[in-house]
Amino acid sequence: MAAKISYDDIEVGTELPAQTFPVTRETLVRYAGASGDFNPIHWNEKFAKEVGLPDVIAHGMFTMAVAIRVVTDWVGDPGAVAEYGVRFTKPVVVPNDDKGALIEVSARVSAKLDDEARTVQIDLTAVSSDQKVLGRSRAVVRLG
């Protein structure tokens, strides 16, 4: 484990560099194959609408996977993540065009947890089409 961010340099309130992740139907098909989650609500518009969704939606686990990249890109070593949890609050709706949807992720250090273990708590915010798509989204990371 070799986090490139030092615990001593971090304060509560430190903002991590925000990132925006595009999601198209192609992204979802690729994620379905890689994850093994072939639920048709993630690729079949007719099915999605029949079960009451506005359109095809992204896998919640896809959103969870990209959101933590804001943390792992910052810290360098993904093995520094000790805990990660999210609540799925709203779906990311993905229209059938070349633009798809955007997931905007920001994050800030919300607590310094343990001076010995050099762990910090990071709160994440993920927004798509002006809606919060993740709630209680939080990671615990060991810093250098």
Binding site: M1, A2, F21, T27, R30, Y31, G33, A34, S35, G36, D37, G60, M61, F62, M64, A65, V66, I68, R69, T72, D73, D77, P78, G79, V81, A82, E83, Y84, G85, V86, R87, F88, R136
Partner: protein, 150 residues
């Protein structure tokens, strides 16, 4: 009918080991747009102190969720899977999953409750490697919406 709360604490038999392959990790990393070499290049991974490439943090969900199927489809528990949505998800890592791991999952019903006509089930998956060491604990909260719920 609400889920039976006496099932809290029930543990299911460990799953057959899942062997984590380098190319499966690569496929997953590419699917989430990852560019970090620690997922695809063994040299980069070794430079960070790992024996082989590691998997992105949420990779293990595919393995733990498959294992949770034992609970979800347990006829005695009687969860109506057609009404289930994924409410939240958490992971606690002892170490990252890495290529070459043979992972077995033991699923436990951690909590069962009813709220506003919905059944809420938390399944914990303890993921162990072949030496029996705990690698990650996954917690999956599933919500089965009430039949007349909107």
């Amino acid at each position: 009918m609400p889920l039976d709360e006496t099932y809290v604490g029930r543990t299911y038999p460990p799953t057959e080991p899942y062997e984590v392959g380098r190319e499966k990790i690569r496929e997953f990393a590419e699917a989430i747009g990852e560019t970090n070499g620690v997922y695809t290049d063994p040299e980069v991974a070794r430079a960070l102190g790992y024996p082989d490439v590691i998997a992105p943090p949420t990779f293990v969900f595919s393995i733990s969720y498959r294992a949770a199927g034992q609970v979800i489809h347990d006829p005695q528990l009687g969860l109506d899977y057609s009404r289930v949505v994924h409410g939240d998800q958490g992971f606690t890592y002892a170490r990252p999953v890495q290529a070459g791991d043979c992972l077995s999952v033991t699923s436990t019903i951690e909590s069962v409750r009813s709220m506003a006509g919905n059944d809420i089930l938390v399944v914990r998956g303890d993921v162990h490697d072949k030496s029996g060491e705990l690698v990650v604990t996954a917690r999956t909260m599933l919500v089965a919406r009430g039949a007349d719920g909107k």
